[in-house]
């Protein structure tokens, strides 16, 4: 699609939960330094697809997968893969803001301390401050780093979760409907933040909100019933979808 080298290459990905097939032969190439939006109605498989990228689906006992997901040309479903290393490279932000019940500082420092237990105090502080700044949260929390992360507003909590991910310096960031629990102002702040992040990361966003997909995505993939119906540059797909079902979805005929 682009001469840009792809970061994630998904090939013939099929996923089952018990006998239910959640994804059918999905193939997709995801490019670095861009935002890829995944849209589609509820239950279409977009969140399942996202959770395959960091192997969080491994938690589900009945989960089964066929096909390949190559990140930087490495198939992450190879049996000898260390999932911990994958998840350090692929960060994730969830639908419900979920800061840990600890102070704002500790929330951001948590992953860093775990991965590098002997880190020096000053270094750790630098990382925390830098992450909070990049998550556009620093100005709001700089005077209360020792306050519980749970005392923040929903939008601030979500940005804290983004800061927590940024602190462990991933290369890919997955966001699973990051704004669906937030008000419009908080949503706008997060969208703006994502826009800045794409310079340094590969960003994948699952969203229910078509307007959001349009505003922030460089590429959009439309899922329906486990199939990737259409995938392409956001501008093209929104203006001139080539599939009838995409057109119907974009027109709001179903959702």
């Amino acid at each position: 699609m682009e001469n840009n080298r792809c970061k994630i290459k998904v090939k013939n990905l099929s996923v089952w939960y018990k006998s239910f097939q959640a994804l059918r032969e999905v193939s997709m190439e995801i490019y670095p330094q861009s935002i890829t939006g995944l849209i589609g109605p509820s239950g279409c498989g977009k969140s399942t697809f996202l959770r395959c990228m960091n192997r969080l689906n491994d938690l589900v006992a009945s989960f089964r997968l066929e096909g390949n997901i190559d990140i930087d040309d490495y198939n992450i479903y190879k049996p000898e893969t260390d999932v911990v290393m994958i998840r350090r490279k692929v960060g994730m932000v969830f639908q419900q803001p979920n800061p840990f019940p600890m102070s704002i500082f500790d929330n951001v420092a948590f992953g860093v301390r775990e991965h590098n237990p002997r880190i020096k105090k000053g270094e750790l502080e630098d990382i925390v401050i830098d992450s909070l700044k990049r998550a556009n949260l620093w100005d709001e929390v700089k005077d209360k780093l020792n306050v519980s992360g749970l005392s923040l507003s929903g939008g601030q909590q979500q940005r804290l979760c983004i800061a927590r991910v940024l602190a462990v310096s991933p290369e890919i960031i997955l966001l699973d409907e990051p704004c669906s629990a937030l008000d419009p102002v908080s949503t706008a702040k997060i969208e703006e933040l994502l826009f800045h992040l794409k310079d340094s990361y590969t960003v994948l966003v699952v969203t229910h909100n078509l307007g959001q997909a349009r505003r922030i995505s460089d590429y959009i993939g439309f899922f329906l019933n486990g199939n990737l119906v259409e995938y392409g540059k956001a501008a093209d797909l929104v203006v001139k979808p080539s599939e009838k079902s995409t057109e119907d979805y974009l027109a709001g005929n179903f959702g």
């Binding site: 969080l56 911990v84 998840r87 960060g91 969830f94 019940p101 519980s148 927590r164």
Partner: protein, 347 residues
């Protein structure tokens, strides 16, 4: 026409507002609901009154001995001699002096020993059951644990008497050792150690069931967030899941401790039923010495009830048991209050 209607309305409105059946007035409670509410209230009041009555009764019965003994009830020994003396002199003032230190120590030692087992092995079991156990094995294991928690304590006492006590006397107590100790106490296998083992078997399943429930109900969103940050499953358990489940784990430990403190029969079967204060200076023999707990004492010495002094002494033991229950429940209050914020203070 229009004017007529308006007049009608203006007449009706004040009437409606003052009537008891207006749109915004609360509907009157049906008679049946009122009766049920009153009955429930009475039952609640009655049960709290009963609790206070029990406390009042136990403590008032205990007062003669507690008054005569003072602090020496807690800080001195000699219970068995005191009891015999009171039994024989039946009711002289001097016979009201009792020293329950060995009993209190026996209770504290058996309970805390069993809690140590619980919090190590039990917590390990709970973690395995709730986080690591393969799905096909979980159900049978869980039902086994729940079944074990429901077994009557006397059965555990019997197992202790048939298996644990003979094992200790055969493998841990040599002839020379019992000869050396003969002046202090008889070592026949009934011991503090046997008490701790039997008590652990008894309260372990309760603790495991409660702790694994607590671990299972730790918020999944924290677990996912931690795993997604690149923590291993084990580190996630240690750093995120256990702290989130701490409240329930502590509650399980407190419940287990409550059952351990109040246990009478099983312990009286396996601990030797001697008001002996084990001496740490004896080294590991400490654990092989017989003891007796407050609750077992009440059972074992119950035949002395006919003598007022003995009765009062046993009620004194009972009042200490009640006190420990109150302390445990206060402790759980304080602890759960502290943890509601997840250990982080919101200033």
């Amino acid at each position: 026409m229009g004017k007529m209607e308006l007049e009608n309305v203006s007449v009706i409105i004040p009437e409606k507002a003052s009537s008891t059946t207006g749109f915004f007035t609360k509907p009157r409670k049906p008679f049946k609901e009122k009766i049920i509410e009153i009955i429930l209230l009475l039952l609640t009041v009655l049960s709290s009154i009963l609790i206070f009555f029990v406390m009042f009764f136990v403590i008032s019965k205990a007062i003669p001995v507690l008054k005569a003994s003072g602090f020496s009830f807690v800080f001195s020994g000699g219970w068995d001699e005191n009891f015999l003396n009171a039994w024989q002199t039946s009711g002289e003032q001097s016979a009201l002096k009792f020293g329950a230190l060995p009993l209190i120590a026996g209770t504290v030692l058996t309970t805390s020993g069993a809690l140590v087992f619980c919090l190590t092995f039990g917590l390990g079991c709970a973690i395995f059951l709730s986080e690591m156990c393969p799905a096909w094995l979980r159900k049978p294991l869980e039902s086994t644990v729940r079944l074990l928690a429901a077994i009557p304590s006397v059965i555990y006492g019997l197992i202790g008497l048939m298996i644990v006590v003979p094992f200790i006397s055969k493998h841990l107590i040599s002839n020379e050792l019992s000869l050396r100790m003969i002046k202090i106490c008889a070592l026949d296998g009934t011991s503090l150690l046997a008490g701790i083992i039997v008590l652990s078997m008894m309260i372990g399943p309760i603790f495991i069931a409660m702790a694994s429930d607590a671990i299972k109900s730790a918020p999944k969103i924290y677990k996912e967030a931690s795993l997604a940050l690149g923590l291993s499953h084990w580190r996630t358990i240690v750093k995120i899941i256990l702290p989130a489940a701490r409240n329930g784990i502590v509650a399980g430990a407190i419940l287990a401790a409550g059952r351990a403190i109040g246990e009478a029969i099983a312990l009286s079967m396996v601990t030797g039923s001697v008001a002996n204060l084990p001496n740490p200076a004896h080294g590991l023999v400490f654990f092989l010495e017989p003891v007796r707990t407050l609750a077992s004492t009440i059972v074992d010495n119950a035949e002395g009830m006919s003598v007022a002094a003995c009765e009062s002494a046993l009620f004194a033991c009972g009042s200490f048991l009640l006190l420990s229950c109150v302390l445990l429940s206060l402790f759980s209050r304080i602890f759960s209050g502290n943890l509601r914020t997840g250990g982080v203070s919101d200033k």
